[in-house]
Point group: C2
Chain length 504, copies 2
């Protein structure tokens, strides 16, 4: 067979996998946006069938054959760059999945499925003991998987690499340490500041329909393409890619706190715009996807914080908000509104945290995961360690495990190594902002005019279009000329909060 | 291998096929209820992948092995009745698909896909010549397929059998002839009647939101299970089964003709209730589905006509309708409303026809298809034959082919043999009604009380629960003790229209 024939067969094979993944994505979207409840059991059979099929394909003899045949030196050089990247991507998946004995992988999948429902109940009852045996098994499996997969330096690196290729404990320890040393004192200063924003008006009743109208206007301004997406309502908002021309988002309307919908929508919009603007040439391959969790989060956080919580953005949009809810905002000045939506104070729940304290929540989890994976602590220690770290970093302590160690679903699903992405995304976003200012020095004026298009174009050109063609650290290097650098985020936070709280 | 092992493997194999079909059904639903338009191209790749997979499985060596192994006499007798029926169902599909050379089947699929889009344009332009070459090829393929498949008696029987197992030209000629001989003179008498209903008030403006509220109430009364379904809005209303616990319907709101939504919803509800009440023991098999197009239509038409257009039903629901749209109905008496919604007059478009003239539209198509398949006419003759038959049966003639021979999509999709189901369903429905009256002599009182549950229970017990376990003529025999008998429909139409139009 010629190289071209093998390449074509390989691309067809990958397209079949992505077709199944597209069907699965639609099924997940449907399950969360209004699938009738009685149909869910049978639906899970369908999910099982399709995902086993995709998994089987990813480790199949056929896949092994393509990888082997296409990576031979004389073949490799004839491949397009895209095919080369695709082969690498498939090979990474193949190697990772192949190294785990099929039986163990199956047991682990069943364990995490069960653990997620146990976690849900345990969280509600604030009963860590109930969840503990499941979590212990999940941690044991992860420790074992790392042995199968191998590791360089710290064992936790292997898990980090799943979500953030190239990221290591060494890098994270350094940037997180630096960031913590800046944030912790700032949090204390803010607590002592006499210039706290007035926030009561934020919680006035704001009818859902009006919130929706306002959110749709914001989405248009932010360049979300409604011909390649749609907005629905769910309990837990999310973005989901059916294909690169069908990227859907959902939001949640809290009539007593409009921020949930507005900032949630902007956040998901950032994820969606990433996916909508991946080069269409990658469609039907596994490369038509965000390159890592951290880079993905850098897009949602860029939109949510660097655009959505900026003064300039509201300069353009506050009049419309006042028109939409005149009783709530009619008598509130833009400056006071801006300070209110940027209020910072230590809180217990990660997903409700403000910009400044958010990274601390992530660091608590990172340190716990790292210690667990390296056998430095055991699952039984978690509630104690958790509470101590919250006390140390945020100065507050949970009164029960439901609002403490049990608050996130990630560990129940076995997603160790995922949490750092949230903070990494934030640092990346600050680095993008800095690089962007060189090309768009009038950034603030653009936002103040409601002209987000050039900002989106910059992100699409530098980041979005590549999908998985570039790895996170490659993007960083190409765009900023340096590696991960937390200084930009630190400077941003210092400037922003010094202004809002008039810190000295 | 033991019988049990083979049976289990076979059931797993079938479950995988039905899982893929469930994913496909969801994809179709999504495409028609709001999928973003730019995503459609890539989505069609997914449809292609999944449907080829299902087709390949249905004719695979593995399927052939199961059929062969399970139908051996000493094996067969150990199978449950359900498995036996399932094997028969798969075998029918297997034999039918196997007999057509793969290459021809593929060409035919591509032809009909193309033909559907050509048809759409041809219909809009009223240009039969444009569509003619495609239709000629489709007819040729169907003639050839019949040679592959074989036939008993009339060649058209083979096509009928696809949609209505056991149905033949001999049976249809007899019942359609009888029905036509009754309807045609009635249509003439009605045209001459001096007691025509007043219908102007039907077309008052009725806001969509109120139509929706009213439709939802009706659906509840009709026992549609919202925990196993949902109502959405589409241009062309339909019912779609994702699985037997997730059966969705859609409707269309015309603010100048509320009948579109109300009677359309009731019609789709009839289809949906059939599927929702199939025995859950059949889930995950191809038997969890309506047994034929005709029986399916008997359920939608039972709901639409025998319930929804009955006087008793409106006795219970008209006050609510008056409350919902007081300006439109406040001054209209129930009797006048009932007569108005049952107005009958010849029209050109099948899907807009009333109860009485509807079967005539079906007969025109039936006779044309039968003649085409038996080489008695050619595609080029169609516009002429069509217009002549409309003149003969309905006394009116299309002024162009768009409202004539080009009005339905069925032929473009190659669905020859499908049309008779619409009229068969109507006859079956009248037979069910007659049988039901023996068990529920208080049928009219029940409807007048808004108590539809016993009616639905009767249908579920006698028809729905069996899915494809019983064939159409088997259901007829078991329920009515006789075969297809058009007399019940004739009597129903005579009584109803004599009353409304005061015919002598």
């Amino acid at each position: 067979m010629t190289v071209k024939t093998i390449e074509k067969d390989f691309l067809d094979f990958v397209q079949k996998m992505t077709a199944y993944n597209e069907a699965l994505a639609l099924i997940y979207w449907d399950l969360r946006t209004g699938a009738p409840k009685k149909g869910v059991d049978q639906r899970s059979v369908v999910i099982g069938q399709l995902s086993s099929e995709v998994f089987a394909m990813s480790v199949s003899g056929e896949m092994g054959y393509y990888i082997q045949a296409l990576t031979e030196e004389d073949t490799w050089n004839y491949l397009s760059l895209t095919t080369q990247k695709l082969v690498e991507d498939c090979q990474k998946e193949y190697d990772r999945n192949k190294k785990i004995p099929a039986e163990e992988y199956k047991d682990y999948t069943m364990l995490t499925t069960k653990a997620e429902s146990v976690w849900e109940e345990a969280k509600e009852k604030s009963d860590f003991a109930m969840f503990q045996p499941y979590l212990e098994k999940i941690v044991d499996y992860n420790r074992k998987f790392i042995e199968y997969w191998g590791y360089e330096g710290n064992k936790y690196n292997t898990l980090l690499d799943i979500y953030e290729p190239g990221m290591t404990v060494e890098i994270l320890d350094s940037v997180f340490g630096k960031l913590r040393n800046e944030i912790v004192p700032m949090v204390k200063k803010i607590a002592e500041s006499k210039h706290k924003p007035e926030v009561d008006f934020l919680f006035n009743h704001f009818p859902k329909e009006q919130q929706k109208d306002f959110s749709l206007k914001i989405l248009e301004q932010l360049q979300y393409d409604f011909d390649a997406g749609r907005l629905d309502e769910t309990v837990h908002p999310f973005e989901i890619t059916i294909n690169a021309n069908d990227v859907r988002i959902t939001t949640k309307y809290d009539e007593n706190d409009f921020r949930t919908a507005v900032f949630g929508t902007i956040h998901e919009c950032g994820h969606a715009i990433y996916e909508q603007n991946i080069s269409k040439e990658l469609m039907g391959t596994t490369l038509a996807s965000g390159t890592s969790m951290g880079i993905h989060e850098s897009q949602s956080l860029f939109f949510e914080n660097f655009i959505g919580r900026s003064f300039s953005f509201w300069k353009s949009n506050y009049p419309e908000l006042q028109k939409t809810a005149p009783e709530q905002f009619g008598n509130v000045k833009l400056e006071d509104y801006y300070r209110a939506i940027n209020e910072s104070k230590p809180s217990l729940i990660r997903i409700e945290a403000d910009e400044l304290t958010y990274p601390l929540h992530v660091m608590v989890r990172y340190e716990i995961e790292k210690a667990l994976i390296n056998n430095e602590i055991e699952v039984a220690d978690l509630p104690k360690v958790w509470n101590e770290k919250y006390k140390e970093y945020l100065g507050i302590e949970p009164t029960n495990d439901g609002e403490g160690v049990l608050q996130d679903v990630h560990w129940a699903g076995g997603s160790f190594g995922y949490f750092p992405s949230y903070a990494l995304g934030y640092m990346y976003a600050a680095q993008w902002k800095n690089a962007m200012l060189k090309d768009l020095p009038n950034y603030d004026e653009l936002l103040a005019e409601g002209n987000v298009a050039p900002v989106k174009e910059w992100l699409s050109e530098n980041i979005h279009q590549y999908g998985k063609l570039k790895k996170p650290l490659e993007l960083l290097q190409d765009i900023t000329g340096e590696g991960l650098n937390v200084d930009y985020l630190i400077r941003y936070l210092q400037e922003k909060y010094s202004d809002i709280y008039k810190l000295s």
